[in-house]
């Protein structure tokens, strides 16, 4: 069922071992090594050049006092930019917003995705159509999606949300300006729930049915079965969904740019948006670069754990294969 990292397909293992051994015995193993490496190198070199060089520049810029509005102001200031960033209370608020946005969106969309996946893990009339309808929000161009939520859904006067809620005594609430971060989160949850649903559904469909059957014969109650069997089986799928969701959501920019412009103030700005503001609207290259480096370091800490999860979670557990 699962294929990842170091878990080759059953039939392939012996082949590959033999191939590798042959290569080693071969007197021209060096040439063979290059022949094997050859196909990998273009992609590897491309990625190193395009992704690592800019980051080295970011490191360098972060040591410069460099504001494009003041020409000739550029000079080496050591770690001054970092000190300034840590004293910037807005930066701290924005960092908190970023965490709230990622954790909140991931949690809500995982829970909704789990419920939807359970609904869809049965044969019923039009299941294919239901799934197709459900994944559509994930496909909508995020800029268009955010625009859609800001105007037709959340508009205080003509918005659908207020129209639907009006029987419950909700007046003309201006959702986006009153609850900017929550509004952004709603549109993100709308986009990401389908992704979680697809992932967890894949997990549900890999459940070994005979184990469930055995449990039922043993007289297990449905809810107990869900808690004792289904949920543990789904765990790694849920983990993977959370990790991947976080990876994609750390770069959230479109929704904030379109819906709130980070405002009011910095109430709904996240780190990508704040750095963008500093760099492209405030022209403060040095500060923005320092923030970028801090974000990268923070992400590396989290990502190291996440990567370990991706590598391990799908190679260790074989019971579903």
């Amino acid at each position: 069922m699962t294929t990842i990292a170091e878990k080759p397909t059953a039939g392939g293992t012996s082949d590959r071992v033999r191939e590798l051994r042959e290569a080693k015995d071969d007197s021209v193993s060096r040439a063979e090594g290059w022949r094997r490496r050859g196909p990998l190198l273009p992609a590897l070199i491309f990625m190193i050049v395009v992704t690592q060089i800019p980051f080295l520049f970011t490191l360098y810029y972060s040591t410069q006092s460099w504001n494009l509005v003041r020409p000739g102001s550029r000079e080496f200031v050591g770690l001054q930019n970092y000190a300034d960033v840590f004293q910037d209370s807005q930066f701290r608020e924005v960092a908190v917003n970023t965490v709230i946005l990622i954790v909140g969106t991931v949690l809500i969309s995982v829970v909704l995705g789990l419920l939807l996946a359970l609904l869809l893990d049965r044969a019923f009339l039009g299941r294919g159509i239901v799934r197709t309808l459900l994944i559509t929000p994930f496909l909508v161009t995020p800029v268009a999606g955010a625009l859609l939520w800001k105007t037709t859904m959340f508009d205080p006067v003509f918005g659908i949300v207020n129209f639907v809620l009006s029987p419950f005594g909700v007046g003309q609430v201006d959702w986006v300006s009153k609850f900017p971060l929550a509004s952004v989160m709603v549109s993100l949850v709308w986009q990401w729930t389908p992704f979680m649903m697809l992932l967890i559904l894949a997990g549900l469909q890999s459940m070994p049915r005979d184990i469930l059957e055995a449990a039922r014969v043993d007289g297990a109650k449905p809810f107990a079965m869900f808690r004792e069997l289904t949920l543990p089986h789904l765990r790694r799928f849920i983990e993977l969904g959370a990790v991947l969701g976080a990876i994609y959501l750390i770069n959230t920019f479109d929704a904030i740019y379109m819906m709130t412009q980070g405002g009011p103030g910095t109430a709904s700005a996240n780190l990508p948006f704040y750095i963008y503001q500093r760099a492209f609207l405030g022209f403060d290259i040095g500060q923005a670069a320092a923030m970028g480096v801090i974000v990268v370091i923070a992400t590396i800490v989290v990502a190291t754990l996440a990567l370990r999860l991706i590598f391990k979670s799908f190679s260790g557990n074989e019971e579903a294969a």
């Binding site: 490496r37 609904l119 161009t141 697809l198 963008y276």
Partner: protein, 292 residues
């Protein structure tokens, strides 16, 4: 609800001879209705956007919202006149070119990391995926400076290079998972028949993984088409892509909902259609091939 769904397959399991089709019609549960309602709820904003695109502006702003109206193509005409064509072409070109480059670079790399693994395969895989973990924003300033210095600002090729870098790690992981499914016996048989490496790649492996290549390409298309951050920072007029056009359209036209909806519909439709076609493979691509 969970109990119901967990139990459902079990109940039907003893009736093994029953065909899938028969079971589909036999089962009726209120949860199916719930599923339909929730799905329609999730789909509703998109449906409403498309509906609004066919309205006159007056019909777009009403309380209560108008469900029935005389459809018109005026908004689409207005949007097409306002230069969305160039943006659509730019997006199509950037998407197509970067997808091609991703496949040209990514398929051989995935091959090297799966069927004929190189030393340090794990390190290489780790490197590829680690680039997806880093926030793009940390690199945007130097990227802007570099792109400006080499004269590619507002040039579609800058986006093509960056979209390639954005999608290549996903493609390598995803393609690798497809390559790993090629049965070893087939390769063995081919080599015993005296097939050269190139022949067995061409005759045995490629036909088997071509659906996987297609799925990978579609994932790259979806991500490139929808990308906004690079596009808004590195393009202006000449090379603006469809999401950037949408933003400019809003600032230029004010809030004409019907017209905006028409533009948004044109922007979103190609990828929605592509995604519907590829939905079976979508989850695998989006999870970097970790799940099939």
């Amino acid at each position: 609800m969970s109990t119901e769904t967990a139990a459902a397959p079990v109940e039907s399991a003893p009736a093994a001879p029953e065909t899938k089709r028969a079971r589909k019609h036999r089962k009726f549960s209120p949860w199916s209705v719930v599923a339909w309602i929730v799905a329609l709820g999730f789909f509703f904003p998109v449906a409403w956007m498309v509906l609004t695109a066919f309205k006159q502006e007056g019909d777009a702003y009403t309380t209560p919202p108008k469900l029935f109206f005389t459809p018109t193509l005026d908004q689409f005409k207005a949007v097409l006149d306002s230069g969305i064509g160039t943006a659509l072409l730019n997006s199509a070109f950037a998407t197509a070119m970067s997808t091609i480059v991703v496949l040209v670079l990514g398929v051989p790399a995935a091959f090297a990391l799966s069927l004929r693994p190189v030393r340090k395969t794990k390190d290489a895989l780790f490197f590829f995926i680690s680039t997806k973990m880093l926030p793009i924003v940390a690199a945007i300033i130097p990227l802007y400076v570099i792109v400006n210095d080499i004269g590619l600002l507002d040039n579609i090729w800058a986006l093509i290079i960056l979209y390639t870098a954005m999608n290549l790690p996903i493609a390598v992981w995803m393609m690798r998972s497809f390559f790993l499914e090629v049965p070893g016996e087939l390769l063995e048989a081919a080599s015993m028949d005296g097939a050269s490496l190139w022949t067995s790649v061409r005759e045995v492996i490629l036909p088997l993984v071509s659906p996987g290549i297609a799925a990978t390409a579609l994932i790259c298309v979806i991500f490139s088409w929808n990308e906004f951050f690079f596009a808004v920072n590195l393009t202006a007029v000449q090379a603006q892509t469809i999401p950037v056009f949408l933003v400019g359209f809003i600032t230029g036209e004010g809030l004409y909902w019907a017209r905006l909806s028409a533009a948004a519909t044109l922007a979103a439709l190609p990828v929605i259609l592509a995604g519907w076609v590829a939905q079976n493979k979508l989850v695998r691509g989006l999870s970097f091939g970790a799940i099939k």
